[in-house]
Symmetry: C2
Subunit: 283 residues, 2 copies
């Protein structure tokens, strides 16, 4: 990867994801200038000290004006409004992407105001239950998968966004926003929701007999240690698909309940065997 | 731990759990004689070759007659019948325990025929999604927790059973059978059931777009790669508590569905925060 292939990069939001991104961009020399933007000056200073950016600003309008590529790394519900705010100040030809966990809402809302076809949605699927610049993780993106959701209108910008994630060592998959949202509801959003519910149900055991908790429960609920502000917003921003998953899960649970109640051992074994074979396909 | 503190040990069922147990007993010199019992001679030979036992037999009656301590390492629904079969052949003063994942059914069924008060239920909570002697894991028990469920009638035998698990490096907790079953339904049986359901729901993604699956889903569903014969039986043997958990989960999901549907963001954040704080208590 050549220096400055992506010119100047601005990252809006220097938390765990944005900070780790800036750090890798500079370390891999994917670019030489990373402006870290945010509302909290003290936090931005920490990001600079951690080598997650080369410059900082609390003024988004000013901070994006020289950028060739802008990455919005903020909670999903804020992304369209922040795009609207920076749009008039973007350099001609600049490309904007995000790292939001849902795409339909963001892509359609931004599509309405994106006259220059500069925005292409991204979802680098690396995450962690960690938050904040203090947890910055070098190499976070390398080897992970990034879904990019061009809208047809934005194919040109999409090529640059795809190259950007590939330069960080990511595997890029192109999906339609709706297709992405259905997939992540099933493989991320619902598992998080169920993990929160599973931990809540076991609250008394966790408080009174924690010694009986084994590695299975720990693995199954690791993602329940995730940030409430981020996840409440993700559920709401992918409402349709999350509700669909909950309905589906209730149906599955009702069927399983009937099978257990009526001792249908063969049906249970078949159900579990199918799940096991599916799970064994996941590496 | 002195040699032969537990005399001769017989293990009925030389699969993953039984095989790993025999191996550790011999390696730690907790005892010098381990008879591996089972129905399949070829498998027993493999166990002996893997140093999981010093002798083998397919004749349970004959195999237990010299044993000071018998461990039944079989699927939960088989345990009471196997106890009934070996009981007339036990040496005077011999103690019998098991490794079943549920306790109420087993302890009450065996209690009815256990005139000598020789049986004390155990549940070493170490497990794995692995099965079979080929996956034998040295040190499987060390550092884990074992729940022992004496019935009051069996306090004397319970002391030996507790000492036995402690000699393997386990932490021992005493619980009532019903208390144990409620706890494991919440922290093991329901999480497994939900993990099977979560994988089933995501079947299409697993088959068609496996690249989007990240570490969160992998962790949350690792236990879905568990054996169907074992788990169908566990659900049925702990029916009352498993059904109670499913009802509870459906209630939680219905509440969460309403909160998402009506955009109750504060309620969602509070729910997730409480779950996160609980999960952070689990080490």
């Amino acid at each position: 990867v050549k220096n400055n292939k992506f010119g100047k990069v601005a990252i809006i939001g220097m938390g765990f994801m944005g900070g780790s991104l800036g750090h890798d961009l500079l370390k891999l020399k994917t670019c030489t200038h990373v402006t870290g933007l945010g509302r909290n000056l003290a936090r931005l200073k920490k990001a600079k000290k951690a080598r997650a950016c080369t410059a900082t600003s609390v003024n988004f309008e000013d901070g994006v004006k020289d950028a060739d590529l802008v990455v919005i790394s903020l909670p999903v519900l804020m992304i369209p409004a922040v795009f609207a705010r920076i749009r008039p100040h973007l350099k001609k030809g600049a490309v904007v992407t995000d790292m939001g966990s849902t795409k339909s809402d963001i892509v359609s809302k931004i599509g309405e105001i994106d006259a220059d076809r500069s925005f292409v949605g991204s979802h680098p699927m690396v995450g962690s239950e960690k938050t904040g610049i203090a947890n910055l993780k070098p190499g976070l993106y390398k080897g992970g998968t990034c879904v990019v959701t061009p809208s047809g209108r934005t194919d040109k910008a999409a090529a640059r966004v795809q190259a950007f994630w590939r330069a960080l060592g990511m595997k890029v998959i192109v999906m339609k926003p709706g297709e992405h949202d259905r997939a992540v509801a099933l493989i991320s959003h619902f598992p998080h929701l169920m993990s929160f519910a599973g931990v809540s149900m076991a609250g008394e055991i966790i408080n009174k007999a924690p010694e009986v908790i084994g590695p299975g429960f720990k693995d199954a609920t690791r993602i329940a240690a995730s940030n409430e502000d981020i996840w409440a917003e993700i559920f709401l921003s992918n409402k349709k698909e999350v509700l669909r998953c909950i309905d589906l899960a209730i149906e599955e649970l009702e069927n399983l309940s009937q099978a257990v109640y009526t001792n249908r051992v063969k049906e249970l074994k078949d159900y579990i065997r199918k799940a096991r074979l599916l799970r064994e396909k996941v590496r």
